[in-house]
Symmetry: C2
Subunit: 321 residues, 2 copies
């Protein structure tokens, strides 16, 4: 497989296009918005610079890019069609149906959905066996994780082909064993998000203070070990069971407001927007993106040097190429 | 201030002792457990190696360490007493009361509590005006965040002195504007923890898969920008209000199981323990600690090179010393 069609060219779709192109795949790209091609150019520039820094300049020969004028023109002949249109069920179903009519019968059809279960998306599809959720993380050209979620009708061979292709793209497929709304990572993020909304609404913390609590505290831990491995260490030599015995009782305490759902009303939206402006408004989004990507490259390079996690994934990919 | 008493020498207390000592403070250390002194030695070795790597070898002249044989002997004459005993209310209150009787009247008395509100801890204290929660993050000698939570009776001058001292220790004080159980960061962590327990219990993901979802996905993002700044970027030039308009409706979906509290019963503890053993059991805790610290040093060094966040904090500290 070396030809991808990218349908939907927002932040995620453009990121996919950059990931495919800079790892040698040909890409046909379709988005009805007139500004999407310019946006893609900008993402490609950033991605080329970032990946070149991450890979010591050892980028493969890039694939060719074609901006298609129709969805049908984009998907014809593609080996992999990646749908990244906005997160609305009717729209996704309709676009997937159009993709299905235009794509080769042996093409992989994948959705970037962050929330919908594959079986919900494929209800009206004629060939759901070649469909799979492939949910990436922004920026897609730098972060390796892809949640691969097969639906009830997805063929095992589809999952195998998806995993191989993602490995060739230097990505990390995480096959999710049971489909649920929002898969794995976004459920964790959603939990943090709800709690953060309560903290802002109740005046306990501003957006900047919450971000400080993350980036100076547990954030750096999670770039390299997750929740469970970190807590295993905290438990010391007595192990995970000991840690759980210590930590367990806290669950019964009313710490978290998450037993309720905050209402994201106008007042809360205005508060968050104003706090976010105060926190980050001095920099444009483009500046913030550049800073973020330079930081991510630095972090991934440091993990490369330590042969660990996301860094070691890059090392192994570079050895193969 | 240059003399700290560390009361309670587990992972957190030993980490505090290392942080103080390696930034030039004298430390008196008290823990009734016979093994605590050996444990402290080991933490000090690791901390010295890690901080030396983070600071380009430019460590200040270390302070002197004295292992005290009694709590009273430890706190006498100290400018700052840091309590880090197990997270049990009665124990903490009783130890804080002992500290109060033994410490100088102008000493700062701080607690490492991750959960209790300061006003709850000080209910029986005679001089709560010099008390403050100072909640650090493991490993304390490397991660800069300290949640500084004043109680109803804490004097403003106490908060000022704590902030200055933490800056001298190359730490990042985050003054929490309203005391609530678990402060800020642990509320976010608790939210993730509960959701993760559901995912394991429902057989959606193993501990290793959840850790993969974190470390290859949003973890590296959070080492350098938090929840809100990351989402601001995702919203693009239309800004935070636009992002919230897109994201808001998802809150009403039943994505998160966090509207309920999982029971951490024996079956779930056994499942998590077995999965954690399968994930990380091939390495000892000491090996995992070494890997974690080398990774954290690498990440913080990469942020130093980019003059950003926790890395820039170190740069500024080194310039002053």
């Amino acid at each position: 497989m070396n030809h991808a069609a990218v349908v939907g060219g927002g932040v995620i779709g453009s990121g996919w296009a950059a990931r495919f192109l800079l790892h040698g795949w040909d890409v046909t790209f379709f988005d009805p918005a007139p500004a999407s091609a310019a946006r893609l150019d900008q993402v490609l520039d950033t991605a080329r610079r970032s990946l070149s820094a991450l890979y010591d300049g050892a980028l493969p020969e890039p694939g060719s890019l074609r901006i298609a004028r129709s969805l049908t023109g984009a998907v014809a002949g593609a080996h992999w069609v990646q749908e990244s249109v906005p997160e609305t069920l009717d729209l996704k179903r309709s676009v997937l149906s159009d993709i299905e009519s235009g794509a080769s019968t042996d093409a992989i059809v994948a959705s970037s959905t962050s929330g919908f279960r594959p079986s919900v998306l494929t209800e009206q599809m004629a060939n759901p066996e070649r469909f799979c959720v492939c949910h990436p993380f922004n920026p897609v050209y730098l972060l390796p994780l892809v949640e691969v979620v097969p639906g009830a009708d997805t063929a095992p061979d589809t999952v195998n082909r998806v995993q191989s292709a993602l490995a060739e793209l230097a990505m990390k497929p995480l096959v999710v064993r049971r489909e649920i709304d929002a898969h794995i990572a976004d459920r964790l993020l959603e939990a943090v998000w709800r709690e953060a909304l309560w903290l802002v609404q109740d005046g306990v913390a501003t957006t900047e203070e919450i971000d400080t609590a993350i980036t100076y505290g547990f954030g750096p831990r999670w770039a390299q070990m997750g929740l469970f491995e970190t807590y295993r260490i905290a438990g010391g030599d007595a192990g995970m069971a000991h840690f759980l015995a210590q930590f367990g009782p806290a669950l019964a305490r009313p710490w978290s407001r998450l037993t309720d759902v905050p209402e994201l009303d106008k007042a809360l939206i205005d508060t968050i927007t104003a706090q976010s402006d105060a926190q980050s408004g001095a920099r444009s989004i483009a500046e913030l993106e550049t800073i973020r990507d330079e930081n991510l490259v630095g972090i991934l390079r440091s993990l490369r040097a330590n042969h660990w996690g996301a860094g070691e994934l890059v090392n192994r990919w570079l050895q193969r190429h």
